[in-house]
């Protein structure tokens, strides 16, 4: 059937109008998003910025990772040290640039892990229903009965590497070899050290997310096309892969973008408590311990990393909100 044979209503014309070519469509979509949701676009920019700064950190930073200038300790921001120096004479700007690696890895890694885990739990609970659903939901009850921060701290102590102890299956040690651009550790050093945090945060955040996924699966399952697929003999696997998952993807994407901010905030908090990535700078760590006593007289020491965390989390939450409005208005007000 072609458009010419049909009665020409505006809807039909709309339906049959040839879609713009892919690159142009994407450009149009991006421009529209920026115009309608400027703060969401700011969040997207923050995300891209942190990833780019993280990837190119050895070239963007002004000092090698472990460089100390003890005679210049606790200097305020200047043209040599843009964000000043800490009590050990390390350039705060360079350290914050390196810390982007941890932020980017933990944020993105956690979000991917949470999405996969909550999809597996939520879909199997929501789709199969009955006894399976009941059992899984009781387990999720237990999962959610732990206060998140303590589950995280306990898991981290279980899994984390401390001096003299090899940790959980040697995870989280990471290689000490490989090229060091600019005399600095790069992603292959940072990534294994953040895996423990990614796994922990993922497990903790996935509990709540799986509930949302389950609700979404239940709503999708009630649609006639799922019933139709079952009637014509589609297997469960096929129905889930072809009908359920594509339809709940918007929910998953929105959840993921909202959890990006949470993950980074929690990572900063555990770093502040001294339980995060060790032997590598992170934003939360820069506000903890000794530095806080020095910050009393050198406020920039607290101000720069704190503002960085704030801006990142603020931007990602805005991005999540904007994506939710665009992709999945049903979720509005769920947080």
């Amino acid at each position: 059937m072609t458009a010419a044979k049909m009665e020409s209503t505006p809807q039909v014309e709309q339906f049959f109008r040839p879609r713009a070519a892919a690159p142009r469509r994407i450009t149009l979509g991006v421009v529209g998003f920026v115009q309608r949701k400027p703060l969401g676009a700011f969040g997207a920019l923050m995300l891209i910025g942190i990833v780019v700064i993280g990837v190119f950190s050895p070239w963007i930073a002004r000092d090698p990772l472990s460089a100390q200038h003890l005679s210049d300790a606790l200097q305020g921001p200047s043209s040599r040290y843009w964000f000043g120096t800490d009590e050990n004479g390390r350039d705060l700007y360079s350290r914050m640039v390196y810390a982007c690696q941890v932020t980017a890895l933990v944020g993105i890694g956690t979000v991917i892990f949470v999405s996969i885990l909550s999809l597996v739990v939520g879909v199997s609970s929501g789709y199969f229903g009955g006894k399976i659903d009941f059992t899984i939901q009781r387990l999720v009850d237990i999962w959610l009965s732990f206060p998140a921060i303590f589950l995280i701290l306990t898991l981290l102590t279980v899994l984390n590497v401390r001096p003299g102890i090899s940790g959980f299956f040697g995870l989280g040690r990471g290689p000490d070899w490989g090229p060091q651009p600019g005399g600095s550790l790069w992603f292959w050093h940072t990534f294994p050290r953040t895996t423990i945090i990614i796994l922990t945060l993922g497990v903790v955040l996935a509990g709540g997310a799986s509930r949302v996924v389950r609700a979404s699966v239940l709503a999708t399952k009630a649609n006639p096309y799922v019933e139709a697929a079952t009637v014509i003999g589609a297997t469960s696997t096929r129905t889930i892969m072809k009908h359920i998952i594509p339809n709940i993807m918007p929910t998953v994407i929105v959840l993921a973008s909202l959890q990006l901010g949470t993950a980074i905030l929690v990572e900063a908090t555990i770093s502040f408590l001294g339980q995060g990535v060790t032997n590598f700078p992170t934003w939360g760590q820069m506000l903890s311990g000794q530095t806080r006593t020095f910050a009393e007289n050198h406020i920039y020491l607290a101000l720069f990393p704190g503002t960085a965390i704030f801006l990142a989390v603020f931007g990602f939450n805005m991005l999540g909100d904007a994506l939710r409005d665009v992709l999945d208005p049903r979720l509005r007000g769920s947080r």
């Binding site: 703060l39 237990i142 279980v158 947080r335």
Partner: protein
């Protein structure tokens, strides 16, 4: 309804048992148990004491009295112990240097001492056994003693719980006082400048890390107002004013962190309620905007808001850890944090259980409140 309550109450039992079992499993997985941390420095000081008991045991086996036994006998038994240890390490006892023999003696005493403590603390049993003995004791109201120091946990918790509750309630109060009015105004003036600012600042409040906020507050207070928060905590029934002087700031910070969520939900709920028919009826009846919003709008929007406030309790518990740590408030969260660092297994499981009970029952209370406030909801 009664049936529903009973079923929910029965369901809490497996949940709580599951939580306690999981906590036990986690804690047993911790690399290096409490004994390793407890005996870090003290074990070698007790070397001679430990060896003496083992030598006495060996002498008794040979039928000799340890008090009157000859020095050669004691030396022979000690050498035997050291030789076994050397063999365990894969060294030849005959060829070992004096330094190696001394090291083996230390290792032997160290391990023996630690095993002795493990037996005394009941850590030599498998963890299912430990878990069950904990559950049976806890059911009788005995939470056990700390591994480090042997102080009873029950009284310690009774000291700390009121402090945590005080901080949590004050934080909740602050957050509701901030969130409700702004949320309602933001909904009434939807898409206006006020709404936009309120929404952005709500996300801002979610985004600001409490430890950063607290640090900045302390710095500003000391630099520009020449004021420092009290170093020592006073219990609320000893001196309420002194107690409040320390606790008001953490409560405000906690409340601000929470208010973002509540404000957003209030706005969303109000928007939904304001679109309902009965609001239009109230308006057409000739009620003023103010009466309509407050009497017909807010009261109906309150139902889900109450539940969300109840669901913030776990967030409160977690959020208070950082603030207790920074302001030096002896609350439950800090107790658990120290316990995790010390691998103090009975404390970790006890405090986690307290939190789990609070969370499970607050969820139940939220569901029941929901039913009471909204007669349309029926549980079966």
């Amino acid at each position: 309804m009664t049936q529903y309550i009973i079923r929910r109450l029965l369901l809490t039992i497996p949940t709580l048992l599951g939580v306690s079992l999981l906590v036990t499993a986690f804690v047993r997985m911790l690399p290096g148990d409490a004994v390793d941390i407890l005996t870090d420095n003290s074990a070698l000081q007790n070397r001679d004491e430990v060896l003496k008991t083992y030598i006495a045991e060996g002498l008794a086996k040979e039928g000799k009295d340890p008090l009157t036994a000859a020095f050669q006998d004691k030396k022979r038994i000690e050498d035997g112990l050291v030789n076994t240890q050397l063999q365990k390490e894969g060294l030849d006892p005959a060829a070992a240097t004096p330094a190696q023999r001394d090291a083996a003696k230390n290792t032997f005493a160290f391990n023996a001492y630690k095993d002795e403590i493990r037996v005394r603390l009941g850590l030599d049993k498998n963890y299912i056994h430990q878990w069950w003995s904990w559950v049976t004791n806890a059911a009788q109201g005995d939470l056990g003693v700390t591994l480090a120091g042997g102080r009873p946990i029950g009284p310690e918790l009774r000291e700390r719980i009121p402090t945590s509750i005080e901080l949590g309630l004050l934080g909740m109060l602050v957050s509701v006082l901030i969130a409700l009015p702004i949320g309602v105004i933001s909904a009434v003036k939807q898409d206006g400048a006020v709404d936009y600012i309120a929404r952005s600042s709500a996300i801002g409040m979610l985004a600001i890390p409490s430890f950063f906020f607290a640090t900045i507050v302390i710095i500003i207070a000391s630099r520009w107002f020449n004021y420092s928060f009290p170093f020592f905590f006073t219990k609320v029934w000893d001196d309420p004013m002194k107690n409040l002087e320390l606790i008001w700031m953490p409560a405000v910070i906690l409340g601000i962190g929470l208010s973002g969520t509540i404000m957003r939900l209030t706005r969303a709920q109000m928007l939904e309620v304001l679109r309902q028919d009965y609001i239009r009826t109230a308006r057409s009846k000739g009620l003023t905007d103010r009466t309509t919003v407050i009497r017909h709008g807010v009261r109906n929007a309150m139902i889900p808001i109450v539940t969300i406030i109840g669901l913030q309790i776990p967030v409160l518990v977690g959020g208070s850890l950082v603030l207790e740590q920074i302001f030096g408030i002896p609350g439950v969260a800090r107790y658990l944090f120290t316990a995790i660092l010390n691998r103090d297994f009975p404390v970790i499981i006890a405090v986690n259980m307290v939190f789990a009970v609070v969370i499970v029952f607050s969820n139940l209370a939220v569901d029941l409140t929901y039913a009471v406030l909204d007669p349309r909801i029926k549980f079966s």
